[in-house]
Amino acid sequence: MTTTIPSPAVPGTPVRGGRPPRTRGPGATARRSATRALPLLPAVVLLGVFLLGPVIWSFYGSLTDASLTGSAAQGASFVGFDNYLELFSDPDFPKSVLLTLVFLVASAIVGQNVLGLALALLMRSAHRVVRALVGTFVVTAWVLPEIVASFAAYAFFNDTGTLNSMLGLVGIDGPNWLFNLPMVSVILANIWRGTAFSMLVYSAALHDVPQEITESAEVDGARGWQRLVFITLPMIRRSITTNLMLTTLQTLSVFTLIFVMTGGGPGTESSTLPILAYQEAFQFSQLGFGTAIATILLVVGALFSFVYIRALRPEVD
């Protein structure tokens, strides 16, 4: 670090050694950019080995018959697209894709977004104390470590849990939620867990909507819902897009909540793709199979990210 001098960004500043800056050759320019890029190295190494590495490994591993036990555990051999062909002929896989879609749409796209927006809107006209209390509890459910939140949700939806004893108070004999309605339970739990994020994003977005515009619409005779649909929502549409993408990506990788609440069960009735990948790889020792599912998830996540990054483009450039 002491032998090379990073050149100032300002042209015309004196450089030690008395060399006029203009006469340096292309070699010096290359050396200068290399020195400037040097601090990127630790990050590049970490990301390359531990983030890009698994991604490449995932694509490669999905083409082998690797397993944790048995003969294939020693040396995995290349099997081409066999894992994928097997995957598509296995009834569990299409079912899991469907469950994942249901989970994404119901808990993220509809549940968290609509509830988050509704809370953000309602809180504007609510009493200060109510607003603070709602904010605190909604955000606490989100900030709690995932394993603790998952247990709280497990206890809530359990056959002998809080939900059924509350229903019992009003004379309803509640079902065994986790066993008979596993998807409903995990969807509701994920809404409980994740709504805070959407609520915070929408609160910030609504805060930025100039009040004069809604007020002048009110003067022109626009009703409450008209102001919402024709003025407020179009003005925060960028936040809506961003938030839809982010909640979708977060929900796509929800594992712990479902794993603790139902374990993917009963059977595979609530096995979304991350759970199925885990079950195949670690419970049924089908590493190649699990890796193929992981690869598909990565590709789906990458497609979502691609759309999201295109939407964010002006901020990077």
Binding site: L38, P42, W57, L200
Partner: protein, 278 residues
């Protein structure tokens, strides 16, 4: 306080009513956690304890049950946060200060990394770690956690660094200070609050992570609290809900405290959400 029209009063009452219902629904699972932790005969349902007692806490506050796992959590989260912040600050400096040809592709790559579904990757990560001989290794786990939180950290660090004015550094450059010296003596002290936010953000993420150590760490004496809570549930779960709740609370307190700290210092709970570019 301006004058309120009847329609505004109706709106206000409806909002309050709906919000109170939502409040009850959101609070019940958390209230269960609190009440069960002070009730030695806790069940899975919310109920008022017959006697408030701290017995659950004293039962779990033993080296085996709580201290070793919490210490493991601390080592993993601190290691991860330190490593991430160091790598992120170093990377953010050239990205923020120089116009280099690799800036744009690098930032796009980083942005892409923030979106990667890390949970989906755990199966390939496991087999990669078997190959690298890093299974059941605490440093290995720290490295993976650091790598997976690095994209977001670089992004945040760069945004914080962009808001530090460049004029002071120009003076230092004129005086012949090296890049590393400028970074450590001028830029880092000026962006300390921002770095604290990045540090806490990464720390909270690593402390709360269950799936990564669950897959990568096998020996019970190396596992963080997140994983031991899960095994505790498997072993005694059906009898000792109170102890489970007490341990869960002990484990959650640092995260809640750090969150309050960050949101207070940045004014409003939207700090973390804002950092994600909502």
């Amino acid at each position: 306080m301006g004058m309120t029209s009847p329609s505004q009063r109706v709106l206000r009452a409806t909002s309050n009513g709906v919000l109170l219902l939502v409040l009850v629904a959101f609070a019940l699972p958390l209230v269960w956690l609190l009440l069960a932790s002070v009730d030695t005969s806790a069940t899975l349902s919310v109920k008022w304890p017959e006697a408030f007692t701290l017995d659950n806490f004293t039962t779990v506050l033993t080296p085996d049950l709580a201290f070793v796992p919490l210490a493991n959590s601390l080592v993993i989260s601190l290691g991860c946060a330190l490593l991430t912040v160091a790598a992120a600050v170093l990377a953010a400096y050239p990205l923020s200060r120089y116009r280099m040809r690799i800036n744009k592709p690098f930032l796009y790559g980083v942005l892409f990394g923030t979106c990667l579904p890390v949970t989906a990757m755990m199966v390939p990560v496991y087999s990669l770690f078997v190959w690298l001989n890093l299974i059941d290794s605490v440093p290995g786990t720290i490295l993976f956690l650091a790598a997976s939180s690095l994209p977001m950290a670089i992004y945040m660090a760069k945004n914080f660094m962009d808001s530090v004015p460049i004029t002071l550094e120009e003076a230092a450059w004129v005086d012949g200070a090296s890049m590393l010296k400028t970074l450590t003596t001028i830029v880092i002290p000026l962006m300390r609050p921002g770095l604290a936010v990045v540090f806490i953000f990464v720390f909270i993420g690593a402390w709360g992570n269950f799936f990564v150590p669950f897959v990568l760490l096998l020996s019970p004496d190396r596992q963080p609290a997140a994983v031991t809570i899960f095994s505790f549930f498997g072993q005694y779960g059906s009898v000792a809900y109170g102890q489970l709740a007490a341990f869960s609370l002990l484990y959650s307190v640092p995260v809640l405290a750090l969150y309050v700290l960050v949101s207070r210092s940045l004014g409003g709970a939207s700090a973390l959400a804002g950092a994600v570019k909502g």
